[in-house]
């Protein structure tokens, strides 16, 4: 990829230069800020600038000892896991239903289901606040879980739909002809084969829940605050590297999850997809 072939034209070389400059810009504006900020969470002094006077774990200790941080971590995990489980179930079922060629009004249904991805979160948040208040779903975790399920489902729907597009319908038919009920075929054949899509959708739903702030601000009270909300208030009240420590933990967690999913996918592929 980096080697230019000997017959590359001048235009081709120019194009390659532009490409590299663009890649550099992406790195600088997207990745560098994160990489610069994260080490500051190990700063021994409560300041946000380099050079750091010394290394310390104090901000991490701060988080662990602070009850507000612990409550918000617990809330984030509960909301994240519960809403992901719901989003994965609903999104997968929706994708399966929408893969039937005979379904009427398919485009309309897809449009409605993925609208939380398109509509600005502030608007979604206001709408949910007004609507959920009627059913006592504000100021408690179930309300936030439902809201995050709504936000996470489109990710699952899209990734499972993509996985199903590569799924050969005759494989499911073969399963049925061999005597398996549709349910058995789904759990033993269809689901294992679209599992990468389900896992990716689930990961996206989980991360979207984990760093969602806007809707939580509308729906959560003090007791239900999540990590992003705690970070937000932390940033506004007393700016301390604790916020950075929390962010570092989140980044490492998410990168770890994505890596795990990728490794899982490669191992499966080694068995039965590539080889040929």
């Amino acid at each position: 990829m980096w080697q230019l072939s000997p017959h590359t034209t001048l235009l081709g070389k120019l194009w390659r230069c532009t490409f590299l400059v663009f890649c550099g810009a992406v790195f600088m504006f997207l990745v560098l800020p994160v990489l610069i900020v994260l080490p500051l969470s190990f700063n021994s002094e409560p300041y946000f600038n380099y050079p750091m006077p010394g290394f310390s774990w104090r901000w991490y200790q701060n988080i662990v000892e602070n009850e507000m941080w612990m409550v918000s971590a617990k809330n984030s995990i509960i909301v994240g896991l519960a809403s992901t489980a719901l989003a994965v179930t609903l999104g997968t079922l929706a994708a399966l239903g929408l893969s039937k060629p005979s379904l009427p009004l398919k485009k309309l249904i897809v449009g409605i289901l993925i609208s939380p991805m398109i509509v600005p979160l502030v608007i979604t948040g206001v709408g949910m606040y007004i609507f959920y208040a009627k059913y006592n779903l504000t100021g408690n975790l179930p309300g936030i879980i439902i809201a995050h399920t709504v936000i996470g489902t489109p990710f699952v729907l899209i990734s499972v739909t993509a996985a199903l597009a590569g799924f050969n319908l005759n494989i499911a038919r073969a399963g049925q002809s061999l005597g398996a009920t549709p349910t058995y075929v789904f759990f033993k054949i269809t689901m294992p084969l679209i599992m990468p899509g389900i896992i990716y959708g689930g990961l996206l739903a989980f991360t979207s829940s984990l760093d969602e702030l806007v809707v939580v601000m509308f729906l959560a009270g003090v007791e239900e605050r999540t990590i992003p909300m705690q970070m937000w208030t932390g940033l506004r009240e007393q700016l301390s590297p604790s916020v950075l420590a929390a962010a570092t933990i989140l980044v490492i967690l998410l990168v770890g999850l994505l890596l795990a999913a990728e490794l899982l996918r490669r191992r499966r592929e080694r068995y039965f997809v590539s080889a040929k």
């Binding site: 494989i171 073969a174 002809s177 061999l178 005597g179 068995y271 040929k276």
Partner: protein, 369 residues
Amino acid sequence: MDKPHVQFIDVEKSYDGETLVVEKLNLDIFSGEFLTILGPSGSGKSTCLSMLAGFETATCGEIKLHGKSINSVAPHKRNFGVVFQNYALFPHMTVFDNLMFPLKVRKIPLADAHKKVHRALEMVWMGGFADRWPSQLSGGQQQRIAVARALVFTPDLILMDEPLGALDRQLREQLQQEIKQIHNELGVTFVYVTHDQNEAMTMSDRVAIFNQGVIQQLATPDSLYECPMNAFVAEFFGTNNRLIGKVLQDNGETCRVELKDGSQVEALAVNIHEAGTRTTLAIRPERVLIQPNRDDCPNVYKVKVKELTYRGDHIRIHTSLCENEDFVVKISNNEKKVNMNPGETVEIGWRVEDCRALDPYCSDSVCPI
């Protein structure tokens, strides 16, 4: 061949509620026979097989198995082995687990099931491949496994939808023989779909020729070839020379037909209407005689040789006769040397019984004459 194993009774299918993909299909399939559905692509063959397997429901009509309607029986309760063109093996299971799948679902005792799996693998000459993953097998091997999986649970019926369509010619011919051999050994009823007339000819007990959702003719391969009842069958099954003409005189058994250039042909009156209507004459290339004896051959014409193609076992002489620009004569490549060159004029002819007068081939408005 007594009571039908499977019956299609007035079966129709439409996907969109407007166009009929299958029209009033009536078909009896007998126990133990190898029945092939042959037709061009898009003629509704797969749709028929899907309805039989239960993947699609018939818009109207009835499908019966052993005399009982199976319209409302779910596919997994039908006990049919199905083989698809693209193999449809379960990629996340080994060959062994693929074959165990139908046995597990049926809760066959493990020892028994293992025995069945090994017997089925032996049957398709894949005994040593139980531990492979499907992705580690070639196309032909995958299809053998798919066949083994379709017969390991002793199904009532085996359905195959163009199972050899994705393989190259040599492999295809080998698997044709293997499948045929399995059919002979097991004696189970086969319903086989293909668009390849050679495949249909070599494998089948009977062939149903399909076009536009209608069975054109259902017969044994030899009678389809020798006695096609309409122009579509004559064209589709085997090579054929087609001449278009007008019925001059219907003598019952035979008829006189006038070609566009005014010459006349004596033909068997198989499927014609009254004098004055159009007809298609069908003559097999190998039944055309060179320099025929005028006594037993009333149809003799002078044609110009356009081209000779050498085919090893036979030689094809391309000529033009009347408006047919590619009238082909096949002569076998035996000790009698062919001494003929392009540009020469020769006399050709055919016997009355080798020339069948059939229905007009194309729609009324388009055809010449």
